[in-house]
Symmetry: C2
Subunit: 312 residues, 2 copies
């Protein structure tokens, strides 16, 4: 049995055909061109599904259902995009419209939830509770409880990036101050890296930033691995911000497994080990089985796989 | 159909007979005397159940099941108290031992979860997700999802009092710094009240504290209502601490309803209105249906009612 998953992003529409175990058979993408009318975007989503069938030789009749992962607030029960800033949609009945174009049952999930579900299927399956956090431009989260995406009574839960880490702290884009995202996102790491380089002009990190005239989320990690003390301090503090927020989530939810995704998770043990150590030293639970913490495995495929299988 | 609920506390064993709608038929309590052997405490729990039957005229044969709410880490699936600091227990098979004494099926819940379930049954029934927070000596929480207590994969979830509100902030009793509990508990309010009185010796609040030579969780609220500016500032900031943590929980969980319990909830609208306003102005969700926030209705009966019905 096969399923189509579509990860509708602000830049690209990525889609794939997935089997019942979450293995990707074929994938492809087209530009979203998000400024055009939504109907045209949905036409391209349908066309991409047909392209996948042709490419794989799996006829559309053998596709059991189609799932869409979409940014924004999603009414998954009714298949409606309640609102989305990134690709302008407001009360848009995605499942009905795409369903008619394809002649298939279509389901809808928030994109972060779909990615969490994809990682759950491939790497957390069978566990009672699975939390994925994504350290990217912002900090996203998705929670799978008893094998199902948890999205709150109104479809917009798991905005863990907007839990407060520092009361009255750094201004967040959401309007509140001190959100976890304002300390633990890659955007925040960039800010922390630049500030440290400016404050330590003698550091090798500052020299290299000036030399290459660019700074990324990897800069501090690279320089720390090369032994620069300024960079080491940035990485240590960044990992502490990540770990402190994660400890809060573990204290609240006690998920069986946590998976850390997003570009920065490619730092592997250099991120994971200090985060795990901090959580272990600070979590409330000292005596019961502990939450396992690991890095994501699927990266960009998670959203497609999760969207495909979440609505089965 | 009737059920017995037992709220096992560090000071008292409180118990009651409850009908299927959560109405209390009869209740009673005996001192816990927590220093004695656990077996003796459990003997008194069983004796209290028999007393309730005699008092109410409902014979034990007509009691369908018995539920116990207990502090600490609870393995509710296996009916075992994993650990408890308050009443020393470690891997104690409560359900088996009490069940044998009474000849009844016995269920076990964490006490904060049982209280949340009690409020849910009486005041949140039918809602998809119900979160109770208790502002007391500490800050407790309990979450009911789809009509069932959510306790994490290991039985110790909902320790929302130990989510960080101020990274690297005030030392908490749990070992971590900056926990919500260290800012939003009654213990924290007392500290904030004393500090403000000391810093404002001219305030009416300071005069009254000196005059009565005592300070309680109610002091700042009372003085604020009487117009003292120092007290008003304490109450405003305290409500902001409560609201900021609650906003984090709403952003993460999006429960359909939140109920605020504990002694301080008796301040009613004087607590509730500023908390609701702050949450409304700062929560991430702006466009979807919002979480309803209210104060608890059952107070001390919640734990008995919830324990009685949670294990049905």
């Amino acid at each position: 049995m096969h399923y189509i998953g579509i990860d509708l992003g602000g830049t690209n529409i990525a889609a794939g055909i997935v089997d019942e175990n979450g293995c990707m058979v074929v994938k492809d993408s087209v530009p979203t061109q998000k400024e055009r009318p939504t109907e045209e975007i949905v036409d391209d989503m349908a066309a991409l599904c047909n392209t996948l069938c042709k490419k794989s030789g799996i006829p559309m009749e053998e596709i059991r259902s189609v799932g869409v992962g979409c940014p924004g607030a999603i009414d998954d029960k009714n298949g409606i995009v309640s609102y989305c800033n990134n690709i302008p949609m407001n009360n848009y009945p995605m499942c009905e419209i795409l369903g008619k174009k394809l002649g298939k049952r279509v389901s809808l999930s928030n994109d972060a939830n779909a990615a969490a579900y994809g990682e759950y299927i491939k790497n957390g399956s069978g566990c009672d509770s699975f939390l994925m956090i994504t350290l990217g431009t912002g900090v996203g989260a998705g929670l799978v409880l008893n094998g199902k995406i948890f999205s709150g009574f109104n479809g917009v839960a798991s905005e863990a990036g907007h839990m407060t880490l520092v009361h009255d702290g750094v201004q967040c884009t959401c309007g509140k101050k001190g959100c976890w995202e304002a300390y633990a996102s890659v955007t925040a790491l960039l800010r922390q890296t630049k500030e440290a380089a400016e404050n330590h002009p003698e550091s090798s990190m500052n020299e290299n930033i000036k030399h290459r005239s660019k700074v990324s989320g990897r800069t501090a990690f690279e320089e720390a691995r090369n032994g620069d003390e300024t960079a080491k301090a940035v990485v240590t503090k960044y990992c502490e911000y990540v770990a402190d927020g994660l400890t809060s989530l573990i204290n609240i939810i006690e998920p069986e497994r946590v998976c850390i995704g997003g570009g920065i998770s490619k730092e592997g043990d250099y991120l994971l080990n200090p985060v795990k150590e901090w959580v272990n030293n600070h979590e409330y639970n000292r005596y019961c089985p502990k939450t396992a913490i690991e890095t994501a495995k699927l990266f960009n495929d998670a959203g497609i796989i999760g969207a495909a299988l979440a609505g089965r």
